[in-house]
Amino acid sequence: MALLKRLAEGDRPALDFTLDGVPASGLLGDTLLTAVLTCSEHLRGSDFSAEPRAGFCLMGACQDCWVRLGDGRRVRACSTQLEAGQQVSREPGRSV
């Protein structure tokens, strides 16, 4: 199930990517946050409880939307544009 709901700007080219190894698709102009949360319900697990998180501020301040890319980089999903072929993986987090 998706968390975010698209209301406008649906007429854009699709971009394929993988989410935790599973094929997924977003639209050109999506942030990683939008691409992931329009086809699933979370972005990462908390570092202290492994509870799911899906970002909070969407403006680069809360640091609660970090995901990992295939090249090893960790990026803020709210401020990184989706690119075709990206391998996005979500960190499960840990419980203390």
Partner: protein, 451 residues
């Protein structure tokens, strides 16, 4: 000579840049976003097609004017989008652009770093589907998305009604608006609000529109908690009549805005307690001069006054910078700007009265309420440290790590201060100020450093 630098390409930064360029200066304009405009006038990605009226409503002419200004100025500026300023020292800023660290020396700097939502946590606020009001607006404006299928907006401040209206207008299902301020407070605030009748009228229009479209708007309504397994499923709120429950899958909430002051702090600016903002703010004179000779402050990053004031303050600060650099300017424009800023200041006092801070929030917060979402520090953990005898906020942070996580207290700092003040029976002005630390946002490993 080192460059004149502006940090932030929102309303304040863009007007500052325009003013400097008009006097023959070529400033460096650093902005974390890919496209200038700031948050309230944030631009959608290039390939999106909605009209400015769709995106910005009544504010479309202002947003357009600002965007056209930055577009027209591009060649006359050293404009660096996608650039994070993560450290500031005397005469130099450290930036990050596409994985490269670049030091930018400055002769003078205008700090226009903007604001984020002010958050007073409620149980369940870390669940997927819960966002700040600003976030809900960005999802719609910048990505064409709603934060859920059935959305509730809660808290207080002008954004509450604006975002609810924008969502309903865009076709989202807005289930309810829960305004924590009582109607009586808003009635008392009316005289102050009348100083900006056009702004007041817009606020009333949004509210009336929501009611006319059958969207329940409750005043004196506090969000008491959000429930759900893995994501939002319902919320509870209360008013004078008792507790109520609403089924929903998304919640956006905030209590006004808070200034982003970390860079002003690292630049050595002195701070004073500002009762209206209920926050420590960098000192500035009516022109925007800080306590540090080379540092100027403008826009919401120096105290919340809104986008109109930010445009004026950006221009005023740039004029002050030019005056201090030896330019001979007619004082007329500066006086006019300061006069207008003063009037907006009066309106702002009215707004603060209308959207009163919920003074009882800290008293009502249960011990297991999560305050810090980065490191999951709860109200009870903070209270325990206070009971051990600590009350200075940096000391409390050292003991329980509240404010020490990746967001550096942006999300939890205001709430932590309220809890510490309440538990130590001090005024929130008397528990000290959370100090900024570089890097002010996380940096990647493998950072390339320019020689």
């Amino acid at each position: 000579m080192n460059a004149v630098v502006i940090i932030g390409a929102g309303p304040a930064g863009i007007r500052a840049a325009q003013t400097l360029v008009a006097h023959g200066v070529r400033p460096v304009l650093l902005d974390e976003a890919a496209r200038g405009g700031g948050q309230i006038y944030r631009r959608q990605p290039m390939n999106f097609k909605r009209s400015p009226v769709k995106l910005y409503g009544f504010e479309a002419p202002k947003a357009n004017a600002l965007h056209q200004t930055i577009d027209a100025l591009r060649k006359q500026l050293d404009y660096r989008p996608d650039t994070l300023v993560w450290n500031a020292e005397a005469n130099a800023l450290d930036t990050l652009h596409e994985g490269r660290a670049i030091r930018v020396a400055f002769s003078r700097v205008i700090v226009a770093t903007g604001a984020t939502d002010r958050i007073l946590p409620v149980p369940g606020w870390t669940l997927p589907g819960v966002y700040s009001l600003g976030a809900a607006q960005i999802a719609l404006k910048f990505q064409g998305c709603a934060i859920g299928e059935r959305v509730v907006f809660a808290g207080s401040g002008p954004l509450l009604y604006l975002v609810a209206y924008q969502y309903a207008k865009a076709g989202a299902n807005v289930v309810a608006v829960l305004d924590s301020s009582p109607f009586s407070a808003q009635a008392r605030a009316l005289p102050g609000l009348l100083s900006q009748p056009a702004t007041l009228a817009k606020g009333l229009y949004y509210r009336t529109w929501l009611t006319a479209h059958g969207i329940p708007v409750h005043q004196g309504a506090s969000l008491s908690g959000i429930d759900g397994q893995q994501r939002v499923q319902s919320l509870n709120w209360r008013n004078a009549k008792g507790q109520h429950r609403i089924d929903c899958d998304a919640v956006a909430f905030a209590h006004g805005l808070r200034s982003e002051t970390q860079l002003a702090d690292l630049l050595g600016c002195e701070f004073t307690w500002n009762p209206l903002n209920r926050a420590w703010l960098p000192q500035r004179d009516s022109a925007g001069r800080s306590s540090v000779a080379e540092v100027y402050l403008a826009g919401d990053g120096a105290g919340i006054m809104g986008a109109d004031a930010a445009e004026m303050a950006g221009e005023r600060a740039a004029l002050a910078l030019l005056e201090d650099s030896g330019y001979l300017l007619s004082p007329q424009r500066a006086t006019q700007l300061e006069q207008s800023l003063k009037e907006i200041g009066r309106f702002r006092q009215g707004l603060e009265r209308a959207f009163a801070f919920p003074e009882s929030w800290a008293t009502d917060a249960a011990d297991d309420l999560m305050i810090c979402r980065c490191e999951e520090v709860r109200a009870g953990d903070i209270r325990q440290v206070v009971r051990e005898g600590h009350w200075e906020i940096n000391r409390v942070k050292a003991h329980c790590r509240v404010g020490m996580g990746r967001c550096q207290g942006r999300m939890c700092g205001a709430a932590a201060a309220e809890i510490i003040a309440c538990e130590s029976q001090r005024s929130v002005a008397d528990i000290g100020r959370l100090r900024a630390q570089a890097p002010i946002k996380p940096l990647p490993f493998g950072l390339e450093v320019e020689p």
